[in-house]
């Protein structure tokens, strides 16, 4: 079972940020359930969690960050996309800095990882904040300029992606689902 977490304050944003992820999960043949950020995340029978992104101006999920704390001890795999990247970064005590990025940019893979098979990709970015520096809990897998674009939580199968792979890089999500 894949748990897909919506970080969207408005339902209309879910059409844009959650439905495309659910569609990839569905096409890959996995069962899934959708939970909202203001609900307790039920991890029973769940092997993977995908935390989706949301609209550029939407930060309401940060008022419910406590609901995500049980993920720290989760033994399964987690993929955080944009808002999900923020959440994972915060859960593991990292500080996001103001870094607005809207559009398609190059992403340079700096460390071999199971999500991306090539050295360079183009990603669709839509965010206000990102990581410039990371602490010892994380390792950097990909960058755009001075931004950490993909990170992994050390000793965990938790990945944060600052851009939206559902737009131009579906294979990253498919690779995650196939772990």
């Amino acid at each position: 079972m894949i748990t897909v977490v919506s970080t969207c304050k408005y339902k209309l944003s879910e059409e844009e940020f959650v439905r495309p992820i659910v569609e990839i999960v569905r096409v890959c043949g996995f069962d899934y359930k959708i939970v909202r950020y203001y609900e307790i995340i039920d991890l029973n029978d769940c092997s993977k969690v995908i935390i989706c992104g949301t609209a550029l101006r939407d930060f309401d999920y940060l008022n419910h960050i406590d609901n995500f704390e049980l993920l720290v001890d989760f033994e399964g795999d987690v993929l955080g996309i944009c808002a999900g990247y923020y959440i994972l970064a915060l859960l593991f005590s990292n500080e996001l800095v103001r870094m607005k990025k809207i559009g398609v940019y190059d992403v340079k893979i700096v460390k071999e990882n199971p999500l991306v098979e090539t050295k360079n990709i183009r990603g669709y970015f839509l965010h206000n904040y990102a990581l410039k520096d990371i602490n010892d809990n994380l390792e950097c897998l990909a960058v755009h300029d001075d931004e950490v674009s993909i990170f992994r939580v050390k000793r965990k199968n938790f990945y944060g992606i600052s851009f939206h792979p559902e737009v131009l890089n579906k294979e990253l999500i498919v690779n995650f689902l196939k772990f």
């Binding site: 408005y10 059409e15 569609e23 609209a55 550029l56 101006r57 559902e166």
Partner: protein, 224 residues
């Protein structure tokens, strides 16, 4: 939240409007009128038709003209959304963008510059599912422009049907089924939010076999 809808009068912007109505207060429509069909950012709407659609929807319309280039289009969009914000207290913008990161990037940036929310409820949708959905909701849609083989002028003025959808699906190799690459454009004559429907009284088709346009010469609003 009070929102406006980027409105061209075609199927995508009408479906986006229909979805927005369920959650937000739609207070106005915003339409950009480029100089020609070569515009890089916006569909080339028939200004008079959009005015009639807005009348049928009982929504005020903000319409700005622009040149076909990106700079002019973005400036006009900025001015139109600024007006929507100042006059109608709009806090968010609804678009019918489906797959173009070029278009989405620019809409997001303009909204961000004006501190407006941006919603794209059709984003990454399967094109055929969009066509079926508009028919499910009872939209009445006609083809108004085609640009490229294998679509030909015979389809202009014809209504979108399940059979047409099948045909477009079979052309997927050549044509984006939703026409997002400008392969075709549509006009919505009726949908559930219209208080009256549009009736085309007279029209003319201009252009070649595979690049042609339906020019509406006379149209009226009639009871549904």
């Amino acid at each position: 939240m009070k929102v406006c809808v980027l409105y061209s009068g075609g199927k995508d912007s009408n479906l986006a409007l229909f979805k927005a109505y369920r959650e937000f207060e739609v207070v106005c429509l915003v339409s950009l009128s480029p100089k020609s069909e070569e515009s890089v950012l916006f569909h080339y709407p028939n200004v008079e038709l959009v005015k009639l659609q807005a009348e049928s929807l009982k929504l005020p319309l903000i319409m700005k003209t622009c040149l076909d280039n990106e700079e002019s289009g973005l400036k006009a969009l900025y001015e139109a959304l600024k007006e929507a914000k100042e006059v109608y207290d709009v806090e968010g913008v609804i678009t019918g963008a489906i797959r173009s990161t070029y278009q989405a990037t620019r809409f997001q940036r303009v909204c961000d510059n004006l501190n407006l929310w941006c919603f794209n409820p059709l984003w990454l949708r399967d094109e055929v599912s969009i066509l079926n959905e508009v028919l499910d909701y009872g939209f009445e849609i006609v083809f108004t422009r085609i640009a490229g083989y294998p679509l030909n002028r015979a389809i202009l003025g014809k209504k979108l049907t399940r059979k047409t959808i099948k045909t477009l699906e079979n052309m997927r190799e050549f044509v984006n089924p939703a026409g997002e690459g400008g392969e075709y454009e549509t006009l919505v004559l009726d949908m559930p939010l219209f208080t009256k429907k549009l009736k085309i009284v007279d029209y003319e088709i201009v252009g070649g076999d595979y690049d042609a346009m339906l020019i509406v010469k006379s149209v009226e609003l009639v009871e549904k």
